[in-house]
């Protein structure tokens, strides 16, 4: 069974065994507007919890993408690099950003549940 959690930087993370899939939330895409550029971490590189692991740009501005957990990048989603508008269309499913081999599962504990994140997103955008 997979576990989905959310970060304060508006990333979602789905953990299946040791494989973590990470993307940005629908709420994040709504705040960003039309996304026109995505940059992903390199396959094989190691990323640290809360560190920068990519960039998204809308017509208006650039924003960093952070990784909510540490690990080794085992896959990246070329589809969103080729067509960044997919991130607006399907941010929490097919338009994932990268997959990690998670280093320490306990890093998941400090992240928010769906309900907690929805509450957080509502409060911070008000």
């Amino acid at each position: 069974m997979s576990e989905v959690k959310y970060s304060k930087e508006h990333e979602w993370i789905k953990l299946d065994g040791e494989e973590a899939t990470i993307g940005i939330t629908k709420h994040a895409t709504e705040m960003l507007g039309d996304i026109v550029f995505a940059e992903l971490p390199e396959k094989g590189s190691n990323v640290d919890k809360d560190g920068t692991a990519g960039v998204v740009e809308s017509t208006k501005a650039a924003s960093d993408v952070y990784t909510p957990v540490s690990g080794e990048v085992i896959d990246t989603n070329q589809m969103i690099v080729d067509d960044p508008s997919k991130i607006n269309e399907d941010p929490e499913e097919s338009a994932w950003f990268f997959k990690l081999k998670i280093k320490d599962k306990s890093e998941m504990d400090s992240l928010m549940s769906k309900e907690e994140y929805e509450k957080f997103a509502k409060e911070t955008s008000a």
Binding site: D34, V36, F37, V55, E57, T59, A61
Partner: protein
Amino acid sequence: MSIKKTSLNNLHIKYGAKLVEFAGYQMPIQYKDGIIQEHKYTRSHSGIFDVSHMGQLFISGGDDLTNDLEKIFPADLKKLKTNQSKYSFLMNNKGGIQDDLIITKTSDGFLIILNAACKYNDYEVIKSKLDNQYKLNLDESLSLIALQGPEAKNVLNKVIPGCDSLKFMNGNNYVYKNEKVYITRSGYTGEDGFEISIKHSDAETFVESLIENGSKLIGLGARDTLRMEAGLCLYGNDLDNDTSPIEANLKWAIPKSRIETEFVGSEVLKNQFQSGVKKLRVGIKPDSKVIARGNTKIYNDKNQEIGKVTSGTFGPSVEHPIAMGYVDNSYSTVNTKIFLEVRGKKIPANICNLPFYKKNYVKGEINV
């Protein structure tokens, strides 16, 4: 100072605008469709822009007004026919641009459209340079609405019949709901279009009737991507007090007849016409999908800094990142290879021609 609202504020909210503060006004950055759809709708049909935050300065009184204004602005105002418009500048003594503006000759004087962030300062500067006999009115009882796009003429003609006969950079008086409106054929998107100066109390119904005829409200976000594709400058980004019209590659707006005459900044401009300039505004096309925004540093192939980007975005119609900026004049030739420093990496790019998007203006006489 409290934030000001335009006469269309309720309409912006009704149509789902995201509102931001711009030059002291609460303005729509985008509506529900988002910047890309709004941009494309303007290029394929027509878009309505609330530009009521801009200044509408009327100057009248006295036979010497044209002469006296020519001492301020480098435009050929003597040749201007009634209802004809010219793009020009308010400069400082160093030849730097204090504002870029549109001057239209009216039946009793001139109307000057000023940038929102500059308008109060412009008013003071212009007033200080003119004799007391002239009447200056920065009219805040009028809204200003731009309608832009290939269908603009058809949409506007249904609401205010007859305005499709206007030529580009010309204006005239029309009537809407028994009130006078002043319409010019001009704009800031690279499309055919109009700017309508209308009483605040009529603005909302006027815009609703444009919407009923198929047009859509467009926010400042798309206004910015549209003007960048059209290679047009935004004051404060691409033009400022330390940049002259020659450096900004806007030499075409200084008529030959004025080069030898005197106006504010004329000494510097004359010098630059003769000996050239050190920096020049150019179009920049990154090789990859990376976007270089304002203040991005520009380097040559020897890693020497040669300039900086002043505006940059993703161009929704050209479907590629675009930018403009200033480079050392020796690197200003089209196809020169340059490098843009984005997030610590040097991104290859080329100097390119402006505009990025071909203009669709309805030409009258060639008047530049």
